[in-house]
Symmetry: C2
Amino acid sequence: MHTNESEGADILAKAYAPGHITGFFQIHNHENPHRKGSTGCGIVLNGGVATEVMVGKSVEKTEVFLNGKKVEGRTTRTVAEMMTDVPVRIRGSAEIPTGCGFGASGAGALGTAYALNSALSLNQTAKSLTEYAHVAEVVNCSGLGDIAAQSSGGLVIRLQPGGPEFGLVDRIPAPEARVFCIVLGEISTGSVLEDEAAAARINSAGKTAMSELLKKPTLENFMQQAKAFASKTGLMSSRAKDVIEAASASGGLASQAMLGDTVFAIAPYSQEFLLYEALQEFGQVLEYSISTCVPKLMNG
Amino acid sequence: MHTNESEGADILAKAYAPGHITGFFQIHNHENPHRKGSTGCGIVLNGGVATEVMVGKSVEKTEVFLNGKKVEGRTTRTVAEMMTDVPVRIRGSAEIPTGCGFGASGAGALGTAYALNSALSLNQTAKSLTEYAHVAEVVNCSGLGDIAAQSSGGLVIRLQPGGPEFGLVDRIPAPEARVFCIVLGEISTGSVLEDEAAAARINSAGKTAMSELLKKPTLENFMQQAKAFASKTGLMSSRAKDVIEAASASGGLASQAMLGDTVFAIAPYSQEFLLYEALQEFGQVLEYSISTCVPKLMNG
């Protein structure tokens, strides 16, 4: 509902998209980026990225800033280049760590698409904006399935890969639950996806995990399948393994974010505090919850 | 994450689903209730219905309560009958008026499906639960398109009619905006849908509104198309017309909820208070916002 009609003035728009942690997945390569992607299952978080775009006379070239610092921001930049020829100043503000398996690049890409659509009155619907973000993710190898989940909300099962045109998602009826995270380090999504032997192990374990999940689509079973997947694929780091074992010993369920050196954990309501205490031994515990909400434009 | 393993004890589960106001629509009749429904556009609200189900030894027959009073609750009852043979005590608690175009029957049906799935460990996904709720709505003529919107969240465009199996939705990138409502009275959804002349006017005006909306999918254009639709179809009551004119005079955009004798209105952020003041002249102003969230299980 915000318009800026002063001729030549800069136009601002802001949008928010949630973060997302994948528990297990399968890689689906395809030469068409609209069809390329992943299947699997993950949690959309109530923490995400707010993205502000500015277009107008004072903006002379496209630049991307994240939390106040200038960054390359390839995925976000690709979205802007796909949507417009005019230069855009893009400022992201993240409530989630970047490069650690929280889907920050996807959240930034979605927020950029929503905000640019508003700033430039491009008259696109959510599906079209999501398609831009998905293509930008896969061509930059910054993610494969986050966009599909982030544009859906909840505990999302990605049944068919790709953007909204070809992709297909469902949801596990999402309960209210805290999601605790310990960030141990960064993993480059691109480097793992380009390793053929790793990809073969991922696809084999991912297929089993999906098949087992669909027999009993619950949060608990999702966490169990995610843990089995991380273990079987060899993606679980030794430090992550220690944290995951400590979480289990305190009555929680934990696994490693795919792809990031981050442990995420949940517990039955009565045991959430015990889990939190156990995780604290390993570092700062980030606390989120499962979000059932999709991206949106923001005021101001 | 809540389980009740004491043998024979009653099992409780609770779920929440949002309300929804349709601005314009087209009726799509079909003998298959999975394909029957409406296309159109509407707003998912941040007010909805919380539904608690109880199963176990102390529940001898299926009963439905709404806000503490025993009701027939046909749509909700149909959901329970489709999902289980065991008797269920269902208690709904509504933050939205019933019978006035807020999609309360749909919210109750969705909440019942989610809660029963949890209480009886039925291992259904969100799509399957949504399909139950959609079929229950259309066979009881309590609604045609609310479920498709309520299970998606946001400012939802219903492009193809039906439950998740056949239906197709998109979203207008939803801004944050207050939605003010004045309830003038009840309209029976069923009686309007069974009037052939009214249905013909609805489908003609609904087709035009959808075509115009897709040219410029924004909240403002949605409100304008909704107003044109309500006026052309003859569904706009004379009292609603007065309220809608007053809203326009105060800088807002307003129309009538389909199907209900309820006016809903929005305004640019800076004019929301003026709109609220103007609406207050006509009765109690209910205040919601556009919700981008989908149904969920609740704790406790």
